[in-house]
Amino acid sequence: MKKFKVGLATSAMVLVASTITVVGPAAVDLTAASASPVAQAPLNLANEQGTLWSCSFNPFIPSSLPYSFGLTYESLDFVNALQSGKVTPWLASAYAWSNANKTLTFTIRSGVKWSDGVPFSAADVLYTFNLLKKYPALDLNSVWSVLSNVSASGNKVTMNFKSAAVPYLYYVGGQVPIVPQHLWSKIANPVTATISNPVGTGGYVMSKCSGQNIKWTANPHYWQKGKAQIKTVNMPAFLSNNTCNEYLASGQSAWGSQFIPNIQSAYVAKKAGNSYWFPPVANVSLFPNLTVPGLNDAKVRLAISYAINRSLVSKIGEYGYEPPASQTGIVSPTFKAWVSPAAAAGLSTTANTAKAAAILKADGYKLVNGVYTKGSTKLAFTLTTNGGYSDWIASMQVVSQQLTKFGIKITLQTPAQATFYSNLFAGKYQLAYNTEAGGPTPFYELRQMLFSKNSAPIGTAASSNWERYSNAATDALLNQYGTTTNLATQKAIVAKLEKVMVSQAPVIPVLEEVDWFQFNPTHIGNFPSAANPYAQPGLYNQPDWGYVLDNLVPKA
């Protein structure tokens, strides 16, 4: 998302951007002020999406997602991926599992009002979940694939699941924005309706939207007293990364989520206070197609994993912003506590070609004309990566060189984005470089990678598990995780999954996907940081960005 788009203008613009000395006059708000006695500068966000804003604020429609969930609409809980899924109560004051972890009961907070003054109640929660059941197009997280029924009585909402579903607390509690029944029940078709004046319980009210900018003002009646202190928030639409980076570097924006090449000179050095923090959240991995001869052999996949110098890939392909990943599949330092020492033993961020060669020799492969060969199987593959991301292409060029030099011949392909995804989903590739969505604990990403039901036959689009891995023992482990709320037991299960990753290498993590986050704390305090990672700081994370906005404090 915050990638460096390849385009005609790109390299020329980098040159221009790196020679900036002074940048245009500061943004002037022609309409603001008056609301508060002490004038407080609006907070402008730098979030390049390559699109003008649609100005429809339906939180269940992906094309409008980043603009309402989190700051206008709120969910029952806030689940923090940077603190191993720590749950903070939001619209629900408490939750409890019962019935062998098949029933989840939320206690709905009282005293909360919608921004139009109507009181919020458990009926709104019930309405929202039934809405998702009635319109599968709105059920982005497929919560009704695991739910069997939802009911409300008094201030309690009870959800019954088809089977033990502990990890689904994240989806039902943390990923479903609650909408007002008194307004939404009047909408004829909520899938196609344009929601131009969103009414939510959140700290910010959308006050003005044009294709070029969205403006929010703090909700004066917000139920969380003392929060949402920034009075005005603007999010201009940026069509290209470079114009947005320039806006950010010049100090017109104090919070950005941008990929900035040479960040030290192009951003940090431009203005006092400019800072960045890139917390890793998921893996960017090689997905070997397990139906391809050669790649269906775990030994070959392990050899590939050992032959890659991940540190070098990170340094050359990503300016070091995305740290090297681990074959265990655990993203650190974010999920450091989940790393199994037994599984991680002997792994390194640099290459171990001697070990890789030993694995292949033991497997019967011999070097023939510089390529490892066994019988009619020659280790020569195509590697495909999204042609829209120049940093990924650079990373994969390094990987191709390393593997080809080692004796596994790689041909790099960089198709256009649509072709890339279409082929990846359908399994029409040999090696592909991509990332899974991840979640608040390492389990979510491992499940996306390894659960056989996420996959599909070759030719049919798979939602994840694109490598087509299927193993009954692994499936059983993944199902077992859902039955326990005990952290120690969960960690023991994840340790076994790590063992699967390092012994079979169904997926080969190369680098760690990070949250792009730049901030300037000169006038605004309490941004998330390594010391206080209270939410994901990237502006495209919902509902995290709204949660962060609620917690920011203006400095005098």
């Binding site: 005609l8 699109t51 649609s54 989806y171 196609t192 069509l239």
Partner: protein, 327 residues
């Protein structure tokens, strides 16, 4: 009359051909709009949402190409362009109507200015053949016209907004301002339009200068111009009333065509300047595989160009009787 009917028939056939190509070409692209939306989120969206998005957009399942083609033709005639998939659920007409004024204003005005200045300069250059204007303008504009739009745009941003700090670097107006009909806002819009308009003007004016100058040189050698000189008419009158008017005719068709293209905006200029116009919309529609938006935009451009050519044909026929009987 027969001429008019023939031109009208040609217009309709060209329109139908364009409509058909417009329908089939985007569908040859791999992938679908739902995958494009998922791709936009770069893996941040739960993978299972692909199905939800497909249901919302009404894709997936097998659709008969022929029946959707007929439905498309019917919808086009009735002006029902559907809902944009990249700006879902906003209707295509709303999306376009937001962007169109920006492109019409920026590209329209700079095209007209380019034509007027270019034609005038070309005429004067040819009139004073061998003069300093004639020695300097055509060669330098041959060089400048060869520069790509975006490169000139980038250079002018670097020089005028980053070094001299005279103009803003991006946007149609100060991004946090609210569009209103006040002098302050209109001034803001104009201030933001200067650099992109200058870029378009600089790179397009050369073509007008060159063609006008070449037309003029031929016309100036005509007998009636000599006659006018012999009569002792004032040079200025000969330049504009006798030579200029006739030399202008071939340029009119070119001008009509570029007026038609105004509606497509200027893709690269709008991209470089972050200008919220149709050109950028087109770029985005193609990359997001937004078929409804793409189709409506291409249709708009095609119709505008065809109608502009038709009008210029008719105008030329009215102005110049010779073209009416020509085969």
């Amino acid at each position: 009359m027969r001429f008019l009917v023939r031109r009208l028939g040609f217009l309709l056939i060209a329109l139908w051909a364009a409509l058909t190509v417009n329908f089939f070409i985007p569908r040859l692209m791999p992938g679908n709009p739902a995958e494009a939306i998922l791709a936009q989120f770069h893996g941040r969206l739960n993978p299972s949402s692909l199905k939800a998005i497909e249901v919302a957009l009404g894709i997936g399942g097998h659709q008969n190409l022929l029946s959707s083609y007929l439905e498309y033709l019917r919808n086009t005639v009735t002006g029902n362009f559907g809902v944009s998939t990249s700006y879902f659920p906003v209707p295509v007409t709303t999306v376009i109507s937001r962007a169109l004024p920006w492109s019409l204003g920026l590209v329209g005005i700079s095209t007209v200015l380019g034509f007027l200045f270019g034609t005038a300069l070309g005429a004067v250059a040819a009139w004073r053949r061998g003069g300093w204007l004639d020695n300097v303008l055509p060669p330098s504009f041959i060089v400048i016209s060869a520069f790509p739009y975006f490169w000139v745009g980038l250079l002018s941003i670097w020089f005028f907004s980053l070094t001299l700090n005279w103009f803003p670097t991006l946007g149609g107006y100060t991004e946090t301002a609210t569009p209103t009909l006040t002098w302050g806002f209109v001034g803001d819009v104009l201030w933001h339009a200067v650099l992109p308009a200058f870029t378009i003007l600089l790179t397009s004016i050369g073509g007008w200068i060159l063609t006008m100058r070449n037309n003029m040189i031929t016309v100036v050698a005509e007998d009636y111009v000599k006659m006018a000189r012999a009569k002792g008419l004032r040079p200025r009158r000969i330049l504009w009333q006798y030579a200029g008017r006739n030399a202008l005719l071939p340029n009119l068709t070119g001008f009509a065509m570029s007026l038609g293209f105004v509606i497509s905006g200027a893709i690269l200029v709008e991209f470089v300047f972050n200008y919220p116009g149709v050109g950028f919309l087109l770029l985005q529609a193609v990359s997001a595989e937004d078929y409804p938006l793409m189709q409506a935009l291409f249709l708009l451009i095609t119709v505008a160009v065809l109608v502009a050519i038709f009008i210029s044909d008719v105008a030329t026929a009215l102005l110049d009787p010779r073209t009416r009987s020509s085969r």
